[in-house]
Symmetry: C2
Subunit: 194 residues, 2 copies
DNA sequence: GCGTAAATGGACCCGTGAGTCCGTTTCGTC
DNA sequence: GACGAAACGGACTCACGGGTCCATTTACGC
């Protein structure tokens, strides 16, 4: 459904043009299945599970992704792209604090249905390293501090820890209700208020 | 070192009196090793690891604890006891909010060095069910709300989610510095302030 | 010291999941 | 429609962790 599922979004320079039609079709199915299965079960999901969901033998999965880690990376790139875009959008808004607030709500709603994302984010460099988008995110926090809406010592790291934290626990407890997730997003932000 | 390591603290009615001296000694070593290993590695720790740490064959571990789950339960009881006592003490203090504050700090410092506890608490009935001590804890929160120091909708569940949350992430990130842990404990409480 | 039951631990079984091999099927071309 | 290459997937190996077995060792009452 998302365009990021198509082939050109995948390994750098993979030339899908000259692959057989059935291979292309299966590859699409595999990525879609992986996104689903990992979202449901997190990193605990197995390659055979993904293969079964895709209606394919597991050797076929291993042909596209030589190791489970490669498959995880492909899914991670796919999912994190959404977050990056959302941060970009927030960074463009005039009111930093309000932008931050709605960003956290959006993120909460996404994380509520994606165990994989919750487990992977704390370790992913696109989220924790110094990239353009993390710097935009940090800028947003700094601006909200400047506005006097967040405490002076508030950092992006604080947001990562708090959001990553309640997300994990809510998933563990099997809490799906989006209202609850939004509430904790708001609480996390309140923790950083002046 | 702790008295809870001794035998009478273990399975209900286990009569250690008539066991051979070497068996008693090994059993002590096993519990101590299990506490250590689980604290370091969480539930990922294996029974062979515990056995190795105790300087004992793994069959010896399985003689005391027929399954890994039994061993986990023994360690969980051992570790959670400390928390319960701490909650009891807090419940006796006059100022509920202040009691809560120092309780959270204490808990943070304990969790910082015990991955096992962080992983187990969200699932443990002694911590989440309705027991005397969880009711005391909830009473503490209610009292702080009554004082007007916490927001009206603050619950014990909120504290569990926030504390369990940042703890997991800090451990994942390998952050050990107690000052950081105390800071997040304070942030979590701030999230629930009026 | 000696005999016996208790305790031990290395060797083993079993299930599971990652990753590989290769005989068979399917696509696409001529 | 037939042929060769590409793709497939069932069956395999391997590593590892939970849990069991049993020949050997050890404590301890006599």
């Amino acid at each position: 459904m998302s365009p990021a599922l198509s082939h050109e979004a995948d390994p750098a320079g993979a030339d899908w043009a000259d692959r057989r039609a059935d291979a292309r079709r299966n590859h699409e199915r595999i990525v879609a299945a992986a996104v689903e299965v990992f979202a449901e079960r997190g990193l605990e999901a197995t390659v055979p599970e993904v293969a079964a969901r895709a209606g394919v033998g597991k050797a076929t999965v291993y042909r596209s992704y030589p190791t489970k880690a490669d498959l995880v990376e492909a899914v991670a790139r796919h999912r994190i792209t959404w977050l990056i875009e959302r941060v970009d959008a927030a960074a463009r808004q005039p009111d930093a604090f309000e932008a931050l607030r709605s960003l956290l709500i959006d993120i909460a709603e996404r994380l509520a249905s994606d165990r994989f994302l919750v487990e992977v984010l704390p370790h992913d460099q696109r989220w924790n390293g110094q990239t353009r988008s993390t710097e935009q995110f940090a800028g947003l926090v700094a601006a909200a501090v400047e506005q006097g809406r967040l405490r002076p010592d508030a950092t992006l790291q604080d947001i990562r820890v708090l959001v990553g934290g309640y997300s994990r626990v809510l998933l563990d407890l099997g809490i799906r209700d989006p209202a609850q997730w939004r509430r904790y997003a708001a609480l996390a932000l309140d923790a950083l208020r002046t």
